[in-house]
């Protein structure tokens, strides 16, 4: 596609449930990022994938969070046993060359009841 695509755009779920968020990056982009944005805040780095290298998971807030990127393209962020503090917008971004700007999707707005 022309841009980064994220699904679902909105997700409401009950506390304790697992959720999966999907990101489809721009074709050919080797790098993929996940961020979390709480209401009125900046972006919090979660995880970074680059090609076949081991991902940088240093931003994942707990072991309930995990992410994978299959075939160097689509990525899935999974949150297990969701808590209310997980409510936020989860943004995905991809880029091509090192140190170049990132291209963002419109995010998934996650609400935990």
């Amino acid at each position: 596609g022309a841009g980064v695509s994220q699904s679902p755009s909105n997700k409401v779920t009950e506390k304790g449930k697992d959720v999966e968020l999907r990101c489809d990056p721009i074709s050919g982009h080797t790098a993929l990022y996940w961020y979390r944005q709480s209401l009125g805040q900046g972006l919090e780095f979660l995880i970074y994938f680059q090609g076949n290298s081991a991902p940088d998971k240093s931003g994942l807030p707990s072991d309930r969070f995990s992410a994978e990127r299959t075939g160097g393209s689509v990525s899935t962020l999974t949150i297990q046993r969701t808590q209310q503090e997980d409510s936020a917008v989860y943004l995905c971004a991809s880029r091509n060359r090192v140190k170049e700007p990132q291209h963002f999707g419109d995010g998934t707005r996650l609400s935990i009841l």
Partner: protein, 110 residues
């Protein structure tokens, strides 16, 4: 933390006026980037300035970088209602990781 911090947190201006927002950061950087976020949308890249550059222009945008003061400014000239958005600075201090500030919310009144 490498995080950039924007100032002011919020800005309200009349259409046609200029808007200036500032960003400060803590450590040496490779580059500094400014992004815009419209309500409910993702971030859109506006401009990237490298650590060896002092000023950059793109249309109605002007960015300055002072590495000695670890600060940057974004100027939007002749503002329009469509410029209403949140603006974020992001510093790149290694090869791939960006640190974002909390943003400046700009409202342009017609």
């Amino acid at each position: 933390s490498q995080q950039g911090e924007e100032d002011p947190q919020a800005l309200s201006i009349q259409e046609g006026e200029n808007a200036t927002m500032n960003c400060s950061y803590k450590t040496s950087i490779n580059n500094l980037q400014w992004y815009r976020q419209n309500s409910g949308r993702g971030l859109v890249h506006l401009i990237l300035i490298r650590s060896n550059e002092r000023e950059k222009h793109s249309g109605r945008l002007r960015v300055t970088l002072d590495t000695s003061k670890k600060s940057s400014s974004l100027l939007i000239t002749a503002s329009r209602a469509a410029d209403t958005a949140s603006y974020f600075c992001a510093t790149m201090w290694n090869d791939y990781k960006l640190s974002f500030g909390a943003g400046t919310t700009v409202t342009v009144r017609a």
